[in-house]
């Protein structure tokens, strides 16, 4: 990688790490680890943001880096851990699709999203244009995670990592969104997690488990008729 400055290399490294982490999430079945991976993702994101901020000397990026640190590395994982402890959900059940199959699909997704990002990065003026494809891949991979998981908790983690992917995309494509939007997004994410907290307790006291197969009674097919 001659001719490429160190920070840029570091940035690309971060991107690669993000992708790796989302694959790890895809395969990880222990919820606690899942949350840790999420925190790690947040950390990588924080580093990347710092680098970009330092690179482009945009003050508001430091701010959003701080936001990332506070929210995605510290607060959210902490809340999630508390939830896990309070609700005693440690293991996810067997995912709907076995790991190897998932991995295979994951790889396809990565290919697809790189292809997808091609025209975008072709236009991008940012140094980090090549990372856009990775951001797309992270988003879609977390989507996949949400699809194959059975526990509400792990879906939430998937959801948050999707948020991370979007954030990274914003960083790498346009050095972040306007501040007001950033704040709004951050606020929404925070509120979402709080709401989720309330939710989990409600679900728990209703079904005393967070397994999603309790949440499959509202349906249209023949089973619905039998249910009534």
């Amino acid at each position: 990688m001659a001719g490429v400055s160190l920070d840029l290399q570091l940035l690309n490294l971060c991107a690669a790490l993000l992708l790796l982490l989302s694959f790890a999430m895809l395969s990880q079945r222990r919820i606690v680890n899942l949350v840790n991976l999420l925190a790690l993702q947040g950390a990588v994101l924080f580093v990347a943001t710092l680098l970009i901020a330092w690179r482009t000397h945009q003050a508001h990026l430091y701010l959003s880096a701080g936001l990332t640190l506070g929210l995605k590395v510290l607060l959210l994982p902490y809340l999630l851990h508390r939830l896990i402890r309070r609700l005693q959900v440690y293991w996810d059940a067997e995912p709907l699709l076995n790991i190897s199959g998932t991995m295979l699909i994951g790889v396809l997704i990565v290919v697809f999203s790189f292809g997808l990002a091609q025209p975008i990065s072709a236009l991008a003026s940012t140094a980090t244009r090549n990372a856009i494809g990775i951001a797309v891949a992270v988003v879609l991979l977390s989507f996949l995670t949400m699809i194959i998981r059975r526990k509400a908790m792990s879906q939430v983690v998937g959801f948050l990592s999707m948020e991370n992917g979007l954030f990274f995309g914003a960083m790498s494509a346009t050095y972040g969104m306007p501040m007001v939007v950033e704040f709004g997004v951050a606020l929404d994410v925070l509120v979402a997690v709080l709401v989720l907290g309330i939710f989990f307790f409600q679900i728990r006291e209703q079904f005393d488990s967070l397994d999603l197969h309790h949440l499959e009674s509202l349906r249209e097919d023949a089973a619905a008729r039998r249910a009534e």
Binding site: G115, L116, L140, A224
Partner: protein
């Protein structure tokens, strides 16, 4: 009071508005029968009379236009009164006058809907029909058209506590709505890219033949549903009997004619130059309905159902006329086209009167006996002479017998058929006489049906003891029946005048005309030089004269006395009322002959039964073969779709995911 209107159109509008007001007035004291029944309905009848007078007198006069400041922003409601509209307005007014008077005496306490609400729906029904006739843009037409359907739906479901009545209403509104959508699409075609939905724009639009054909077929479908053409008729035998009798009369007598009006308006006025093969399609449908309807009418055991089926037959005959007119028009035979148009308009008028008359009299019977099943009626001519003799007129005219009105229109139609052999298409030449044969067959069957209807209800011995307490119709009901019967007689006895009026309509509608009559006023000679003429009046006089002479002769020479005795029992021990033919019995030959038409279930008793029981149920094969499969098809599709949604959130996420990926792949 309304301001003095200075043009027929304004007068019509005022009268329609008055109908609306009368309806609203019904809500003031909805429970008071004296107020609603004895006051408002007669007022409505007066409006009807006035409307008839205004409209009929306006037939010759030039077309008028008007604008209402309601409707869509770029499309205020256009109104237009031309000869065709006037004719049907007159029909609406004249027939509804009779029915309203009858209804004034008809409605009793203790029906589902309160009298006042009924009054509102009834008069809104009338007014909306009036607006259908006056509308001159697609939006106004559709609004009036659907309001008509809606009002009649609420009238049909008056006694909504009964399950089958609800079912009938549902079926009716559903089919009406689908038909209305078809008409809507037809208008969508006809506006031809000029985003104006006024009829004038449609007249101006020159459509390519394929589009015009599409429009025509859509219209035929749409108006066919409302007219009850087979195979779109299934709602009719359900809905018409379900409604209170005056409403049945209004629906059969007047509302079906709205469909005829719409068909004429579209095919001759809006589409301009119809192509001959459209006519063939209409002809085929019409003939099929005519035969199908009358055959099923012969097999009915419920008197109102029987009348409903016979309505299908008559509508079939009318649409046969439409088809014939289009064929002639397309083949460039103006005189014959005019003849066919006049015949069908005449039949529309006739049917309006006679069918309303018969429905009203069934209403009277229903009230005094509480019985709709023909198998439990009989001998009512002794208990209710008024109803019996007046509905004899109706029955004879519906049977198409001279000198009454039913015969005249069928005569005209047959004349049209008969001279059709110069149509420049060989196979139509072959088919038209067969059409004539079918019409003749339908007419003869109609006579059969009417003998059954009349004989089983009014003649013979009462089949139930309760019938001995039957009472005749009250004064208002008699007046209504009398008015309608008078209409039948008048239409039968002065065809020349009626045809004269209709000529004006046809001239304006399709720019075709009959040659001017050379015959004297009392003689109907539609095509001079054809040497085909008819005079109901003279015929009646001749028959009456002979009857009188015979009677006098008998009186004069042989004055022997008459004694009463028990009927001869052919040596049977005792001869009781249950030995008469029931409705099933009387219809049996038809069932026997048209076996393939019916989906029949029979229970025959074995010779050794202690309590032998015979039961036969007739089902409409079109319902079984067409509509039930349709319903189950929808059910099956719905079940297939339902599998998509089986409650698992992962699946739903998968849908979003796949949608996203697919769309991305598309744009890439």
């Amino acid at each position: 009071m309304a301001p003095v209107p200075h043009s027929p159109l304004d007068a019509c509008l005022v009268l329609l508005a008055l109908w609306g007001l009368i309806g609203l007035a019904g809500l003031v004291r909805p429970r008071s029968l004296r107020y609603v029944g004895r006051t408002l309905f007669p007022l409505g009848a007066l409006c009807g009379l006035a409307l008839a007078a205004v409209a009929f007198s306006a037939i010759g006069t030039p077309t008028e236009h008007a604008l209402l400041l309601v409707g869509l922003p770029d499309l205020p409601m256009h109104l237009r009164r031309d000869a065709l509209a006037s004719l049907f307005l007159g029909l609406l007014g004249a027939v509804s006058a009779g029915i309203s008077v009858f209804a004034a005496g008809y409605f009793r306490r203790g029906q589902g809907t309160s009298a006042g609400l009924l009054c509102l729906q009834y008069h809104l029904f009338l007014a909306s029909m009036g607006f259908v006739l006056l509308a001159d843009d697609a939006y106004a037409f559709m609004v009036a058209w659907e309001s008509m359907a809606l009002a009649s739906y609420f009238l049909v479901t008056t006694q909504h506590s009964l399950g089958e009545i609800r079912r009938a209403g549902f079926l009716y509104l559903l089919i009406a709505h689908v038909g209305a959508l078809a008409i809507l699409l037809a208008f969508g075609v006809m506006q031809g890219g000029s985003w104006q939905f006024t009829f004038d724009a449609m007249r101006a639009a020159r459509l390519p033949p394929s589009w015009a054909a599409a429009a025509f077929l859509l219209a035929l479908f749409g108006f066919g549903t409302k007219a009850g053409l087979a195979p779109l008729h299934v709602w009719l035998p359900e809905a018409h009997p379900a409604a209170p009798s005056p409403v049945s009369a209004l629906m059969s007598g007047v509302m079906l004619k709205m469909a005829v009006y719409g068909m004429l308006r579209v095919s001759f006025d809006l589409l301009g130059t119809p192509q001959w093969w459209w006519g063939v399609s209409a002809l085929a449908v019409g003939l099929f309905s005519a035969l199908y309807g009358v055959v099923f009418a012969a097999a009915q055991t419920d008197m109102k159902r029987l009348l409903a089926w016979s309505s299908i037959e008559n509508v079939g005959i009318i649409f046969t006329g439409v088809g014939l007119a289009i064929v002639f028009h397309g083949a460039g035979m103006p005189a014959l086209a005019a003849l066919a148009l006049i015949a069908l308009l005449y039949h529309a008028l006739n049917h309006a009167f006679m069918k309303s008359l018969l429905f009203c009299s069934t209403g009277a019977v229903l009230h005094s006996t509480g019985e709709r099943n023909l198998g439990r009626l009989g001998g009512l001519i002794h208990r209710m002479p008024w109803v019996a003799w007046l509905s004899l007129i109706g029955a004879l005219s519906l049977a198409g017998l001279p000198p009454l009105n039913g015969f005249v229109s069928e005569w005209l139609l047959l004349q049209a058929f008969l001279f059709a052999h110069q149509v420049p298409h060989t196979f139509i030449n072959m088919l038209l006489p067969l059409g004539a044969a079918l019409v003749a067959l339908a007419a003869a069957l109609a006579a059969y049906v009417m003998v059954k209807f009349y004989g089983v209800i009014f003649l013979g011995q009462p089949r139930e003891a309760t019938l001995l307490h039957a009472h005749d119709a009250n004064a208002l009901e008699r007046l209504g029946l009398l008015w309608l019967a008078a209409g039948c007689v008048a239409l039968g006895l002065m065809p020349t005048q009626v045809v004269g009026t209709l000529r004006a309509v046809v001239r304006e509608l399709a720019h075709v005309d009959l040659p001017d009559p050379t015959a004297p006023w009392w003689l109907l000679e539609p095509l001079p030089g054809r040497l085909a003429s008819y005079s109901g009046l003279a015929l009646l006089l001749a028959v009456a004269a002979v009857v009188l002479l015979t009677f006098l002769g008998v009186r004069l020479f042989y004055h022997r006395r008459v004694r009463r005795a028990a009927p001869w029992d052919c040596g049977f021990a005792r001869l009781d009322a249950r030995m008469q033919d029931t409705a099933e019995g009387f219809g049996q030959p038809i069932r026997h002959m048209f076996e393939p038409f019916f989906a029949m279930r029979r229970e025959l008793p074995s010779p050794f039964d202690r309590a032998p029981r015979y039961h036969v149920a007739i089902a409409d094969p079109l319902w079984l073969r067409l509509y039930q499969p349709l319903g189950s098809l929808v059910q099956r599709i719905a079940d297939a779709f339902a599998v998509l949604q089986q409650g698992r959130i992962a699946t739903y996420l998968l849908y979003s995911f796949v949608t996203l990926v697919v769309l991305l792949a598309v744009v890439l």
